[in-house]
């Protein structure tokens, strides 16, 4: 069994540093937003989380295609890991989105396209896990997982578009409105810097976690392999 690669340890270190810096930037570097006050700071992490969640979904879909074409089990581990991590990131995005909504409009939930789509993604992931759970044969589990990841990745943009059209034709006024249904605001240069920095930080956190999770998956498979060998 290979020991933890040097690169991964370095990446861990970088990730922690970046994260601490990002937190620092969010609280001390970025200016206080006029309308919403401290609550607005949620925004930086909220969008980054959602972005990374989507990234994870894309990685899973690509890994799915790779598995179907090559049959190499490592792609299945990549796909599963990506979806697991994406699940957590979307969850954080939804919670932070909820806090944002509370701060902006006084409600815990808005049916805006992005938040709703994120919630639907969570349901899709739950379905993915249930699907895998119901299959004993590892090859079939990987194949079906890949197919479902691909199918759902295609349907999610369509879902987003349909909710969007729904909203433009029938705009729903949430709470006290504010500047547009999604609560957008103008970003000063420092806000923009913080925002982009958060985005990059979270992408690196994603890569770090993904690497760890893939390693975990591979080790688990090796352990299973050894166990079967002793049985036979």
């Amino acid at each position: 069994m290979e020991s933890k690669p040097r690169m991964l340890t370095i990446l861990d270190g970088i990730t922690i540093l970046l994260f601490l810096t990002a937190v620092g930037m969010v609280f001390f570097y970025a200016p206080l937003e006029a309308v919403m006050g401290q609550v607005q700071r949620v925004f930086y992490f909220h969008v980054a989380n959602a972005w990374v969640g989507m990234l994870g979904f894309m990685v899973a879909a690509i890994a799915g295609i790779a598995y179907l074409r090559k049959g190499d089990r490592k792609w299945d581990i990549v796909g599963l890991s990506a979806i697991e991590i994406s699940f957590v990131f979307f969850f954080t995005a939804i919670v932070s989105g909820s806090i944002w909504a509370r701060g902006s409009w006084g409600t815990w939930w808005t049916w805006d396209p992005r938040l709703t789509t994120a919630a639907i993604c969570e349901l899709v992931y739950a379905a993915y896990f249930l699907l895998r759970q119901g299959i004993d044969d590892p090859d079939r589990r990987a194949r079906f997982g890949a197919v479902y990841a691909l199918l759902s990745f295609i349907s999610v943009p369509l879902t987003f578009i349909s909710i969007r059209i729904f909203r433009t034709i029938h705009p729903v006024i949430i709470g006290s409105g504010g500047s547009g249904a999604e609560g957008s605001f103008d970003m000063s240069p420092r806000m923009l810097q913080t925002f982009i920095f958060s985005l990059i930080t979270f992408s690196i956190i994603f890569a770090d976690l993904l690497w760890h999770r893939i390693r975990l998956g591979k080790l688990a498979e090796e352990a299973e392999n050894l166990r079967l060998k002793t049985l036979q």
Binding site: L68, I120, L123, V124, A126, A127, L130, L131, Q133, G134, I135, D136, D139, R140, R143, F144, A146, V147, Y148, L150, L151, S152, I154, S155, L158, T159, I161, S162, I163, I165, F166, I169
Partner: protein
């Protein structure tokens, strides 16, 4: 390559367009088989119909509405009904193949795998349309709403096509798992949300005489969804049935 035996030459047809002709023949054979079997047993249709009518009845009590509000929710009620009754049909259709090992029988035939998919999908579509054709008049009568609107029928057709395209794919997966029947709705509903949204908004639009320009986006969405998923199904079905 071995020379083809005499007997084989006699038995197999020589068709001028072997690929496509054989494909269409196989698809129609599968459809005919499903229809003939269903005609005998009537299990699938009766289950779907009874369920659909029950759901409509339950809605009547669950949502106690005046005539005006009812008109607004008609499309929603109808589509929820179709979606749930649809999963029954999809499950039964695939279970029939899996239980007696018939799926192997289909896979052994020298036809392209996608012929099996199209045969099953079109069969499922026919069953769904039959159920819808019965539910619509019943709903009309029970709630005094005129549902004979060509626009509405178009939406129902497009929506059903998309639903069945994805549903047949997913039911072929679900039937091969331990959790089978329970799993199909869980897998299916998140993926058909675009259809449900577009179909409900489109249906309501036609029922309330909304300007066609406003309904256009919904029709387009349904068309795009149908085309994309039928194309994807074509490519992906092999991986679902091959071992």
């Amino acid at each position: 390559m071995e020379p083809i035996s005499q007997a084989e030459k006699q038995l197999t047809r020589k068709s001028s367009a072997p690929g496509l002709g054989q494909f269409i023949r196989a698809v129609s054979a599968v459809i005919w088989k499903d229809l003939a079997a269903e005609l005998r047993s009537r299990e699938l249709l009766s289950a779907m119909l009874v369920f659909a009518l029950l759901v409509i009845l339950v809605f009547n009590f669950a949502l106690e509405l005046d005539a005006g509000t009812r008109a607004a929710v008609t499309a929603g009620v109808l589509w929820v009904t179709f979606a749930f009754a649809g999963t029954l049909g999809l499950n039964r259709s695939m279970a029939m193949e899996k239980d007696r090992g018939c799926l192997d029988g289909l896979l052994l035939a020298p036809v392209d795998r996608s012929a099996i998919y199209f045969g099953k999908a079109i069969g499922n579509l026919i069953f769904m349309l039959i159920v819808e054709a019965i539910v619509l008049p019943v709903y009309s009568v029970l709630y005094t709403v005129n549902l004979f609107n060509p626009g509405l029928l178009l939406i129902i057709l497009l929506g059903s096509i998309g639903y069945v395209a994805v549903g047949t794919l997913l039911s072929s997966m679900a039937v091969q798992t331990r959790t089978r029947d329970v799993l199909l709705p869980v897998l299916l509903f998140p993926l058909v949300i675009p259809i449900l949204i577009a179909a409900v908004k489109g249906s309501t639009g036609f029922l309330q005489g909304v300007d066609i320009a406003d309904i256009r986006p919904w029709i387009n969405l349904l068309l795009v969804y149908d085309v994309i998923f039928i194309a994807v199904a074509f490519m992906v079905f092999d991986y679902i049935v091959e071992e």
